[in-house]
Amino acid sequence: MSGPGLSQYLVWCLCTLFEIAVVMCALKKGAFRQYLLLNFYMLASVAVTVARFDVLTSYGFTSPQYVYVYYYSDALLTIFLYFALASLYARVLSELKAERYLRFATLLLLAGTALFSYAVVQQSTTKLLSKFVVELSQNLYFVGLVLTYILWGAILKMRETRTRVIQLVLSLGVYFSLFAADYALRNLYPSTRSVLVLVQQMIGCFLPLAWAYAFWFSPEEARLAPSRLAAVPR
């Protein structure tokens, strides 16, 4: 593969604009400080895009430098997203006063995931580093998905009704599940990687758009019964 095509550059550009839009929407609606880590994640994502673009233009798309920067920055961003998720946990579980335990649990989980990925790859391949980053990303997204699922359970149990929080968590769940499935598919069928690049970029656009939507259209005081969303006829 020679490099990204026009459509990939376009989606990349759009995605970065959407990430900036999240911060702008949060600022405009006075939610920047309330959701500080979520906004920091978006800003970090913009910074990573700039760094990736710089490496891409300096070394080329197929260079090992770009591959490593791509996967390691992806893993770093996912870790950043863990902290954003932890802030949502703190918001939902604020009545329990469990912030310190939450922080400790998040760090423990991160270290555990990295060690597990390293152990799996060490047993299975000689191309340790490149395989490790894909394996790590897949596992990080999957753990993120499980954590979001648990948070959704907590929202239902604690009867959290803030529409904005509910939409932020649900969109995060959609994002994590799509990425976990995408990385798992890459692991299962390595030949589909080139096809999945554009798909992955489009999935990447979902989260900033969904968060911008939540900040813009769901005021902090809006309420929604989450049990209504989960009700399905029998």
């Binding site: 897949q138 998905l145 959609v174 599940s177 798992a184 299962l188 969904a210 911008a212 209504r228 029998r234």
Partner: protein, 133 residues
């Protein structure tokens, strides 16, 4: 083996989150009332029907796009197609499912009508700004 497990679990949980997310978008829009003007244009008086969804979407695409609502509309479009698929397959065997899918399809139409309302007022604001300038 591990990757296959993660893939299957992720797809199953994705479907759940996707349905809940779309329903949260619909729930927010269902609290807003349609203006008489949009009611007249869309033909939605009290309850919206799933049959009107494509027509309302066509009207929606005639208005200038707003980047903030693009993904929500796309998500609801995908949810509507999913409901139509469920309605024409699984729901044929379960009567309660049939009425639920119809209700949800109607809610999707209402969401699209609310988005239309927003786009119309957005276009009006833009026009007013241009005239002022």
């Amino acid at each position: 083996m591990m990757a296959a497990f993660i893939f299957v679990v992720s797809v199953v949980i994705f479907l759940q989150f996707f349905v809940f997310y779309c329903r949260s978008l619909i729930a927010v829009s269902s609290k807003q009332a349609l203006s008489p003007e949009v009611q007249e244009v869309t033909g939605i008086q009290k309850a919206a029907s799933g049959e009107d969804f494509n027509r309302v979407m066509q009207l929606l695409h005639l208005c200038p796009e707003r980047p903030e609502d693009r993904k929500g509309i796309q998500a609801i479009g995908a949810y509507f197609r999913l409901l139509s698929f469920v309605g024409s397959t699984v729901a044929r065997l379960i009567p309660s499912m049939k009425s639920w899918t119809e209700l949800e399809r109607g809610n999707c139409t209402y969401f699209a009508a609310i988005a239309l309302e927003r786009r119309i007022s957005f276009s009006r604001d833009m026009l007013a700004q241009q005239i002022d300038a």
